[in-house]
């Protein structure tokens, strides 16, 4: 089941590489949030454990409701144009994403022969990490950079489930809280940048250099 959900997660990465709408990114973040919550809730459904539900429920709350709503609010409040301003063509971006994912899946498969790991979630998570970085590199809008950062974070989360790292609940919740506050601060910064520097993209940021 985890593998199916991870593949769906990969499909969401394909969608994010072809969509040119900022809203599309928010939808993908919500879908990924649901998938991640499902992946970590499955082991606790049977036998049912209330304790095990806390983390997926918090994840769902933060990644599906709070953060996407907050980003949507910023998009509406600032009236950010709804297209993403890519720096390379969408088709080239898709090719890059596909090539990257192929390499990651092949390498992960080779690695799995020497180390015991769950290839599909491992490779899906790592793909999301790299694609998150691509999004930051090849898009101009700061709000899309935030979405790229969140996709990277989602990738790390999935990657974490693949290597079966069991961090204590308190620390997992702490990481979620940290991510939420980071996004919250980034939102405030984008708000200020749009009013102070009069722009929503990286070209507005060029004052500091030597």
């Amino acid at each position: 089941m985890g593998n199916v959900l991870s593949i769906l997660f990969c499909l969401s990465l394909f969608y994010v590489s072809i969509t040119s709408r900022v809203k599309g990114y928010v939808t993908v973040l919500q879908i990924q949030g649901v998938l991640l919550s499902l992946i970590i809730v499955i082991p606790f459904i049977y036998p049912f454990s209330i304790y095990g539900i806390i983390l997926p429920a918090t994840l769902l709350l933060v990644k599906v409701f709070l953060i996407p709503r907050y980003i949507n609010k910023i998009i509406l409040d600032l009236d950010i144009r709804r297209v993403i301003d890519p720096t390379i063509q969408q088709f080239s971006f898709l090719l890059l994403v596909i090539a990257t994912m192929v390499v990651i899946f092949v390498v992960s498969n080779i690695l799995s022969q020497s180390t015991e790991l769950n290839v599909i979630p491992f490779a899906s998570g790592f793909s999301a990490i790299v694609i998150g970085i691509y999004i930051i590199m090849f898009r101009r809008k700061l709000i899309v950079h935030v979405a790229g950062f969140l996709i990277l974070e989602n990738g790390i989360f999935l990657f974490g489930t693949a290597v079966a790292s069991e961090l204590p609940m308190m620390i997992e919740l702490g990481t979620l809280l940290d991510v939420f506050v980071v996004v919250f601060l980034m939102g405030i910064a984008i708000n200020k940048i749009s009013t102070t520097l009069d722009g929503f993209d990286v070209t507005a940021l060029g004052r500091l250099k030597d």
Partner: protein, 484 residues
Amino acid sequence: MFEFFIFILLPLITSLFCSVVKNLRIQYSVSLSVSVLHLILALSVFLGYYHTNLPFFFSVDSLSKFFLLILSNVYFWVVLVSFSYLKRPVTHAAEKSKGFYFLLLNFYLAANSAAMLSNHFGMYWVAAEATTLSVAPLIYFYRNEEALEAMWKYLFLVSIGIAFAFIGILFLTLSAKGSILEGKQLFFWEFIRNAKQLNPIWLKASFIFIFVGLSTKIGIAPMHSGDVDATSNAPSPIAALMSGSLRLTALMGVLRIFEIIRPTSSYEFAKTILIIGGLLSLFVAFVFMFKVTNYKRMLAYSSVEHLGLITLGIGIGGLAFVGAMYHAIYNSIMKVILFLTAGNIHSKYKSREVSKVTSVLNRMPKTGWLFLLAFLGISGIPPFGIFFSEIKIFEGMLFSNKPALLVLTMFFLLFIFINMGKIIFFMLYKKNDNDNSEIGNEHFDFIHLTVILLLILLTTISVLSPDVIYQNIINITKDFGMNL
């Protein structure tokens, strides 16, 4: 439990208190009292007068008590001068930032103490990220365009860096597959004890990701840009706090993974990476010192240089490692002195551009002389501590198996010294036509007193070289399995 309360809970409670009580003077008094308590306890722990029994994911070893003392010391002096600093007139927009200043500062102390005292990689990560969150809004204190850009870049770069460090932590989990550590919690000491069983390939990957990720926060080249922007645009006490303590918090994470990798076959690999990182930082500082036109950026590059030197010392090992630990403490105090005096200059000239700051010795003689002393100190002129720690690092390099690196390092340091000197002497001595009107017209203020006290403290520590510090550093080197 008492120490957990003082180190972590009390600053958190004070942070909440500062969000409720809006009077700046009360906020200052309470924050200062907390910082004094923190310093007294950190000192007692360091001197061995107080034995800790921390709960959950926290504990104390030679390294953490050493770094905790550095943090506590820097934090105390920063809080001490904060009220004088906040009294200065600022723009209407920046006036609003004052209300959040002590709130965030206390939160920073709680988060940073948690990071220093954590004995679990997960806990360390959460706390280190929390320090970024507390500092980022403080960078935006002046609420101008440059500060906003600096805050955005710092927040974004460091968050991605920290995310990379998290991937490194996950790789560490992978390296434990098939060993007795599999499925166990990520406690430093358990990993250090059983390091030989870890898979070397994943361990190397883990080291690279943690090192590169945390480099954004340490300010090591080539990931230094966010940190330089932030340090140069933050208010001076915050810049001092970042250069003096926050960078060491990130270095702590690197030191922990380095401690794990030490007994394994990947040790030489990790040392090489650290040496490359250190040398690259020195090179970046060397290049940018030629073209820098902003004196606060110059100080930020000086931080890149000194953290590079510390990393280099750690990578070389042996006596250079001892020097690097001494350098950490001397550099932390020196950076507070430099940024506070630079802050005084900034508040008088209202500019960070070197070309607009002339004749400081005439217009601000007290600040000017202190700035000159600070420059001599940071350049490694005796009797200030940096001289002694650099000598140790150089000696360590000379007697290591890579003596050629010493030539390269000294070459970089020489030109950094010359270029920094050119900028600082221009600021201090270059005369303009209208300078004579304000000769000697500078009151002796609280920041001058603080800087003088810090210079005395630094000189005393460096000249007397207390045995307790030496013993603690020797204990750290023993923990790292080094023979001197």
